[in-house]
Subunit: 400 residues, 2 copies
């Protein structure tokens, strides 16, 4: 079973998978997938914590145990749905809920001249206590996959590229796997690539800014822009878009990773909600609706332009890319998908569903596969992707 709650903290994805074959040529069959929404009060507590609000450490501790309980429920639920006794599960791989993530601030090149101690400036924190999951499910758990990569000088993210590599590498086709979750990230797998030739990085916002803006504008009544229909009605605010595309993050070459720290509510507030011009204009014209749709359209455009720009700047120049395989909640936003196709007409688009990896379930599946690798003592990070000094066995094993 693989478990994850993404940066958007909507709820817990649980995938029950059957793995066959040797670990390096693993074959995956998704038996069952489900998402358990966080109770609203819990979600608010998670977002408050992850938002960086000053909070007593007891809340971190309590939330860690509470989420452990909810993650256990999600694992039990996905077993129940497929009528499998939980005790027959070999291992639960739980990503947990990220509440803080910061890769090393020292670039890889500079690290090599420094002592390990000076470099280990990154840190990452996932919660959802695995001891609670193991106790409630009666199944051993591997959790906390990012820490070992960060400890080895890596960004601790992204980790899904190994799954992409294992399942999507091809002798003849250069492949990019694009996941549009809260954050958007790509895995680049050149034709015939070995694990060292895989490139993967976060391109920037996925659904995070879009969802955040919708939630803000509707006072929390809507959580996302279904199909991208609201954004479709707006117009891109070109000067704002141009300004944001010049942000440092987009201009930094990979490896790089990001999260709510960079593209969270603070980013929205600074660039979209506290724009003096826009808010003045809004008041003067008493026209909040169109203004909101324009902002939303601009966010959507920023999202697709940052994805396409990253591919154009850092990926296409390195070698032939034949296909782009898209996963994540963003695949259901038709505006995003249409604009991506328009921006990269030379590439064939596929949905990851067509490759046995349902778009929604991919990340949860990845942590089942990563747990299996750790059980076998195999590394789970790709140093070429995370920037780590070496490939390491990820996670912490908790007995049941």
């Amino acid at each position: 079973v693989g478990l994850i709650s993404g940066t958007s903290a909507d709820g817990i994805d649980a995938a029950l998978v059957r793995l066959t074959g040797p670990p390096d040529q693993v074959r995956i069959r998704l038996l069952e997938f489900t998402t358990i929404a966080y109770p609203p009060a819990i979600r608010r507590r998670v977002l408050r914590l992850a938002g960086g609000e000053p909070i007593p450490v007891g809340e971190v501790s309590n939330l860690n145990f509470l989420l452990g309980d909810l993650f256990a429920e999600a694992a039990l639920e996905v077993c129940r749905r497929s009528r499998l006794a939980p005790r027959r599960v070999a291992v639960i791989g739980s990503h947990g809920q990220t509440v803080f993530h910061r890769g090393p601030t020292v670039p890889r090149a500079a690290q090599e001249k420094m002592s390990p101690r000076e470099c280990s400036t990154g840190s990452t924190l996932q919660i959802a206590e695995p001891a609670v999951i193991a106790e409630r499910c009666g199944v051993r758990v591997i959790a906390d996959f990012r820490a070992a990569d960060v400890a080895a000088g890596g960004e601790g993210a992204p980790l899904v590229p190994l799954l992409d590599y294992l399942l999507l590498r091809d002798e003849e086709l250069g492949t990019v796997a694009l996941n549009i979750g809260g954050i958007a990230n790509v895995t680049v797998i050149p034709a015939k690539a070995g694990p060292d030739e895989v490139l993967g990085f976060d391109t920037g916002p996925g659904n995070m800014l879009l969802d955040g803006l919708v939630r803000h504008a509707t006072g929390g009544k809507r959580r996302f822009d279904a199909g991208g229909r609201l954004a479709e009605q707006g117009k891109v605010i070109q000067p704002l878009l141009a300004k944001l595309l010049r942000l440092d993050f987009f201009r930094r070459p990979p490896p790089k990773s990001t999260g709510r720290e960079q593209f969270g509510d603070k980013f929205l507030a600074t660039h979209f909600l506290e724009q003096p011009a826009s808010s003045l204009e809004r008041q003067r014209l008493n026209l909040p609706e169109p203004q909101f749709k324009d902002l939303l359209r601009t966010v959507a455009e920023l999202t697709v332009r940052s994805i396409a720009g990253a591919l154009r700047d850092y990926v296409f120049p390195r070698g032939q890319i034949d296909r782009l395989i898209v996963s994540g909640g963003g695949t259901r936003n038709q505006l995003l998908m249409r604009r991506l196709r328009e921006l990269m007409p030379e590439v064939t688009f596929h949905l990851s569903d067509d490759y046995g990896l349902p778009a929604d379930a991919k990340e949860a599946i990845a942590f089942a596969v990563l747990a299996d690798r750790s059980l076998h003592g195999l590394p789970g990070n790709l140093p070429s992707v995370t920037g780590a000094r070496r490939a390491v066995v990820l996670g912490k094993l908790v007995s049941s």
Copy 2:
């Protein structure tokens, strides 16, 4: 190697031990022991966090990784001192630094009528990232020993009693092992006891209140009352002592555990520093010194009376106790030791040093032994001590 930083957060104890014999009749030889003080700035950050000040979660994450680095240094240092290559260490057992601990609020008896979910109200949080320790030392690490016991409905503490049981059980003598660290706790091992007959619990403050008061009164210049000499010069404030001995915690039968949440700076402030009468009197008489010594003497008396009271109320009535084996920093406070002997004249006092367990090193040794047990798939908690529903394998295993 066993590693721990106690609730007083002075620094990291590291014990290098050789274990021989079958796990249940383990023999221990302490090869080396050292304590690495926290840098003052780090210590302040730890105490601020553990004190419950509202703090952004990024600080928890960063401090977790920073402490991981310091714990790794301590492990490497204890190896260096004994000229042992770190890679020859079988496992590092790291307790980490507790920054929050709250046992279940639901008593054991009531738990049995409830679902596991309703009961898991306790939570505990130790930091000092084990992935960093494993990476820097090249040794696998087992860490986070308390979470599994809390997940199984236990208090998550104390865990040292298993070590006491393994090393101090006797066919003929009823034994109490008393550890006076920041918190004071006892392990009760009746003659011929099996693991289910061991009792262990926290009696209340150990050195925590004494050290806190000295630090407060000297503006941080002194960290403890060497030998108890300052307290010796004071007089017990009887009404204050009587009031404090009536606290709920002292009147609750075991199992019970406590920590800085209960007997930290807030407790000191409420009961000792913000006493309107005492502060008024201090100002009026302009006599801070004697007043401070009286407060210190009262704290010392509270400490020994709470220990002796717990033994008298909850331990001696259960069966013959022949010897009391004392460990922890408190053994160096002659006032505490003299008063304990006076309060319990019927018992023989020993130092744990005489049993191959140097008073200072005992807790660090315990986590080396517990790590070894977890590696062997053996449980590390004593349900009769922690109140857990069952004996469980403790800790999380991180590969090197």
